[in-house]
Subunit: 454 residues, 2 copies
Amino acid sequence: MMNRRQFSRSLIGALGVSAVPSGFLPGAFGASAVSPGFLSAALFQAQPLVNGPRLHRWLLELSNFGAREDGGIDRVAFSDADIEGRRYVRSLMEEAGLDVRVDLVGNILGRREGTIPGLPPIMVGSHLDSVPAGGNYDGPLGTLGALEGVRTLQDAGIELRHPVDVVVFVNEEGGKTGSRVMAGEFRAQELELESASGFTIGEGIRRLGGDPERLAEAQVGPGEVAGFLELHVEQGAVLEKSGIQVGVVEGIVGIRRWDAVVHGAANHAGTTPMDQRRDALLGAAQLVEAVNRAATSMEGSQVATVGRIQASPGAPNVIPGEVVLSIEVRALEMRRIQEVMDEIQREADAIGAENGTPIELNEFYLSGAAPTDDRFRGWVESAAADLGLTHRRMPSGAGHDAQAVAHFAPMGMVFVPSVGGLSHHPEEYSRPEDIEAGANVLLGALLKADSELD
Amino acid sequence: MMNRRQFSRSLIGALGVSAVPSGFLPGAFGASAVSPGFLSAALFQAQPLVNGPRLHRWLLELSNFGAREDGGIDRVAFSDADIEGRRYVRSLMEEAGLDVRVDLVGNILGRREGTIPGLPPIMVGSHLDSVPAGGNYDGPLGTLGALEGVRTLQDAGIELRHPVDVVVFVNEEGGKTGSRVMAGEFRAQELELESASGFTIGEGIRRLGGDPERLAEAQVGPGEVAGFLELHVEQGAVLEKSGIQVGVVEGIVGIRRWDAVVHGAANHAGTTPMDQRRDALLGAAQLVEAVNRAATSMEGSQVATVGRIQASPGAPNVIPGEVVLSIEVRALEMRRIQEVMDEIQREADAIGAENGTPIELNEFYLSGAAPTDDRFRGWVESAAADLGLTHRRMPSGAGHDAQAVAHFAPMGMVFVPSVGGLSHHPEEYSRPEDIEAGANVLLGALLKADSELD
């Protein structure tokens, strides 16, 4: 991490040590068309900076679509509010002169062409839909932050080598429909699922202008997209608590979930002496502690959670005969999840043997980890450093469209602090200065990616 | 404990050491009218023994009323099956020449007069009603065992000093209605409660021939009953596991119940690092273990149970923000319950402080302990010893009519083994030899009580 003064020194140093190769500015970004005016400005400012007030105005205007009285947002995918919000963002894209199209699943892509013919596009964006009673930043920040980056390039007269697609993915909150269709991961039977809007996903896709019967055509093949960048609110409190401005996302964690069934013997709580019990809840309690211990006894950012527990028969005067509880483990590497689970399994076996309450573990959910691309991670990190912003590497504990995109293109993510770690909540909030900083990092990383990607 | 040979030796010894005072047989029982034939038989048999086959026939015949296909019984209080079962037992009482009356709550009392005018009656009995899908021993054994004792006295031509009332209490399983009305503990508003039969308790009392508006008149004043004896199945597995034939009940345990509320912070299970959590379920798990430890770390028969637990919001991917669980503590002495609870409170405070998950304890149920009367305990114990039966003192972890009766008369209880500890279950079973032994102990204790009580 470096502060602004260190950052200025390092930039001046970088510019001072060598001749600038023709058409290429080292350090902050490479650009194929740098105006002389900008080149001199770059001595004090490594990249053009986004227009914060404009970005905030857009965020504010978007928040009208699905606004709740409590300041939160109801803009679930496929709802009228979602359609209106998309129309608004599309108008902003058109105002920016982007070439806007809606693909067969309903994703909106606003293209700005690049200077080198035949290069695949770099995608930048996120989603616009919210959870029911959600907040105003989860999704919109990444979408409008991407658009603001493109507008900033236009304002500065900077053209990129690659085309840039500003993307609005469909139904992130209800199953990452848009990005998973692009990745070829969407299963046809999901079309029948009812979404939070009341429409099935199939009906919803039609409402957005897509065609549920032709989703295969929306799949993106390898090499068709050069890379993807997504700006997002952290949805946790790590950045805020450590007072750091930017999160350089190491990847989106993998998730595995198990049901643990603890088998005991239901018995009368009055007539069964303590030494004759096979109390399933006592075994379960020890397991809850073991789950916590398994995650905390290793170095690393892995987490393990028991969120759900049910004791049967569940009366104050009956010793529980069976307890079912959920175990969730998340980590950046699937191998680490397995290590944590191996430890939990070992402890579960010991608990079962000690108490006469055998424990059975049944996996019911798996979501693969999606590490960010090494180069993208480096570009996000150096963009933050160039801007003199404090930053740290961190996992994304929550899922994002980038996770699906990782299947067909290298990707990177930028996090900004969420106040109080609140998300999926009307009081979700990120400070204006953090938002602006995040949008600048996104733009900086885009410039580096454009310069270095084929 | 002594075996049968030791018992015979001790009886012969007792008879040999001194002259038998006129009209009084030492050792097994005192009787005001002992026939010469019985006196000589008493050299080999300290008390008349019950007619086991007759008792079993009665139990079998009674099991027709409310019989289930699986061998269990549905004879909830106030149901037609209950009324038919009561009619059957009443007919047995009448066949035995007892003077049968139904009191104002519907309890049936079959009296056999005593020889000394003015002595209050000794009550012996239990209930006939079952839980839904119950067994054939819980209640009927105590009722028919009492009647068999009286029939045995008649067959042997033995009269007692006190009147004996063979009692059938109303609605034990649904709230000890009959015995609690006698004790003056019944609250008028309970009349409106719907019983398992579908009738309110008030309606049910009417169905049994009582008058819900005159319950106050059914209350028994101090001194009006000389004492009470109840034979019952253990409903636990202590006797069976220790291979002991008779339980000498030390008392019916007191019960206190609390709800523990563990306050944490609900949070995203993916984005909240382990060291930033206030996981209410982790606190709850430690509390479950503390409850178990509190009961087992002290000498004695106290038990503590967490039977119910609920974690909110209760999703696999959300750290629980609040957990509510029940804590039940039972012991023979209320003071001991308090000691266990003090220890739980201490641990709860420590857990709350350590994890940042404060724990609040709210009491929601209290049922006072009812120790058996010292003398009755002694009589049950010596009756078992006289009969050469293995026996042990033990608490009753479950509630019984005797608990209510203790409010107006000294009482004692006899337990016989429950196979597998099963009760309130169609497969509830006690072996014929254990039942017969229990009825003999009940009769022996009755004889001793009659001899020694005023």
